[in-house]
Symmetry: C2
Subunit: 342 residues, 2 copies
């Protein structure tokens, strides 16, 4: 096996190409009223998606997103060898109940809001290693199930500080494969947990920024690249507070991404109009924004290469109540436009 | 890449060998009084492991198990390229806080009690695919943190039915690598979620048996093998109730494993002496039993080949309270003794 697939300390550059075959998005009402509205595949005008509970609604979103991604690729469930999937809820229940009916071998993942990056990293290894021809990556989050899980019941009407982010109600499903398409994955950098001592569950941006900083720094070093080698460097859900911190932390390392950094959490809502404070968050945030906004621009060639860095804050109701810090993790994926030559 | 690495519908047989370099176990008091006592590396005589909370105690077990596995392999943290790890708690907090200090790129997993199998499957793909030379797989469970998370607070002194299993307090850490050792992984079969309509969170064995049945059936078919090709077929934590059901379900499929089936949950405790009802369970159960009991027998050659099938029950406090079923999942790993010839 080619050693050259390994890059530096924490990255890989698959020797066999891995392509994005299709992607699909399902979102809630508020996301469907935001700036990306016209780019989503399905918008539900209640956030219940016809189910009785928020958790079942989240499962339903995953199921619909997967069905749409299969449909766009003209594939059936039996064409997919593995699913890599996860969500924010305890014990990944949105995923278990959402994807069960497809009867596809499943790897359940938990990387908080970085899960899409984690899933794509593992799927890329699996495909490039020759263990499958096609794999699906699915993640989701739901505002109501997440608030209940991590903070306060929605009915409690807790006041939200300006640093708070708004959990996106949405699910993104991606089919990756070894057959040529217009977008390929050419690099993966895997993050480690970074703990900067943040204890505020209403300031996830600050908790995740150090992990994003470390990931981007490691990635550029592993690939011997500079920010200008990317059209965009896109984080998952740092929001305005986290973005400012990330840019500062990287500047201290002599890396300036200020002219090409974007954040899915800032892209998905119009914070002023929609009252979403620092921006959107959740596994669903980067999952639907990548598919709705960035992927079409990679397909068209408007972007030749982007670094996509979903970011996760590692906490639970229990860890928060027990006074633990909120460490962060981030995973990086390089997407490239596939030109005429391949 | 060799297509031959893929076997049948849901299995792989890595073309590049993947070896078990070392394994280590840390367990609680009750496990240290059971039949496998002398085979564990570390037994804590309180279950707090010097920490203030059950969750921190579980994190501490992971940290110690990882340190022991590194020590046994004469390696440092920087020699490990990736960790694949998970636990039973909401948002994987035992893992996040337990393994953070090693600063190793991390893939967080959730497969309930099947997580060790899931982690080994992904680590095997990663190593066989040429993406790393060494990876660590770690899982844990803790009786007190699990009861609190899934059932009732321990202080509530809820009565336990005979079908109940006893969550093992323990963590197992494994270092897998591409360097030759005495035990290798020669096959992986990935499970899908199976829902047989079980709704009893005190009868995990029945919830997981169908998933184990499906996994074993698929595995034997994918590899064109019969039960006699294995010295042992070892499930994770079905316990007595689940074992009976598994053997029956497989007999209906024309597969008889009754003379070679063993269950880690039945191996770890003396149920009559220790009052553990149907047996042990939890991600820690199969993780410590594999390392303490089966691995030494694979190293010595007493067992030439075993199929190891950790089993998981997919539920959360929320899904249970909302009246959802408890579906199951299982993952299969083939371990073989490495003889003179390789």
């Amino acid at each position: 096996m080619e050693q050259s697939q390994q890059k530096g300390r924490a990255s890989i550059a698959p020797a066999q190409p891995v392509y994005v075959k299709s992607a699909a998005t399902v979102v809630g009402k508020m996301e469907g009223e935001g700036p990306l509205a016209e780019h989503f595949d399905m918008i539900c005008d209640t956030d219940k998606f016809g189910e009785d509970t928020w958790e079942a609604a989240e499962s339903r979103m995953q199921k619909e997103a997967a069905a749409l991604a299969l449909g766009k690729a003209s594939l059936g469930a039996s064409d997919i060898r593995y699913i890599f999937a996860g969500d924010l809820l305890g014990q990944n229940i949105a995923t278990s109940f959402g994807l069960m009916d497809y009867e596809i071998p499943l790897f359940g993942l938990y990387g908080a809001c970085s899960t899409l990056g984690e899933g794509m990293s593992l799927a890329a290894m699996c495909l490039a290693g020759g263990f499958a021809e096609r794999a699906m990556v699915v993640t989701s989050s739901h505002f109501a199930s997440a608030e209940k899980n991590f903070r306060f019941p929605v009915e409690y009407a807790n006041q939200r500080p300006l640093s708070a982010t708004w959990t996106v109600t949405g699910s993104g499903a991606y089919i990756l494969g070894t057959e040529r398409s217009q977008v390929k994955i050419t690099g993966v950098t895997t993050g480690k947990i970074m703990d900067y001592g943040i204890r505020d569950a209403q300031n996830m941006g600050a908790a995740m920024a150090p992990a994003a900083m470390d990931l981007i720094r490691t990635h550029l070093s592993d690939f011997s690249r500079k920010p200008a080698d990317y059209d965009k460097i896109v984080t998952g859900d740092l929001g305005t507070v986290g973005q400012e911190l990330l840019i500062k932390l990287l500047q201290e390392e002599g890396i300036d991404i200020s002219d090409r950094h974007e954040d899915c959490g800032m892209k998905i809502f119009d914070s002023e109009e929609q009252g979403t404070q620092a921006g959107g968050s959740g596994c669903g945030c980067s999952a639907v924004t990548l598919a709705a906004w960035y992927l079409p621009r990679l397909i068209s060639g408007e972007y030749q290469r982007i670094l996509f860095v979903p970011t996760g804050a590692l906490l639970s109701q229990v860890s928060f109540n027990e006074g633990q810090n909120v460490p962060g993790i981030a995973h990086g994926i390089v997407f490239e436009h596939v030109g005429e030559e391949g």
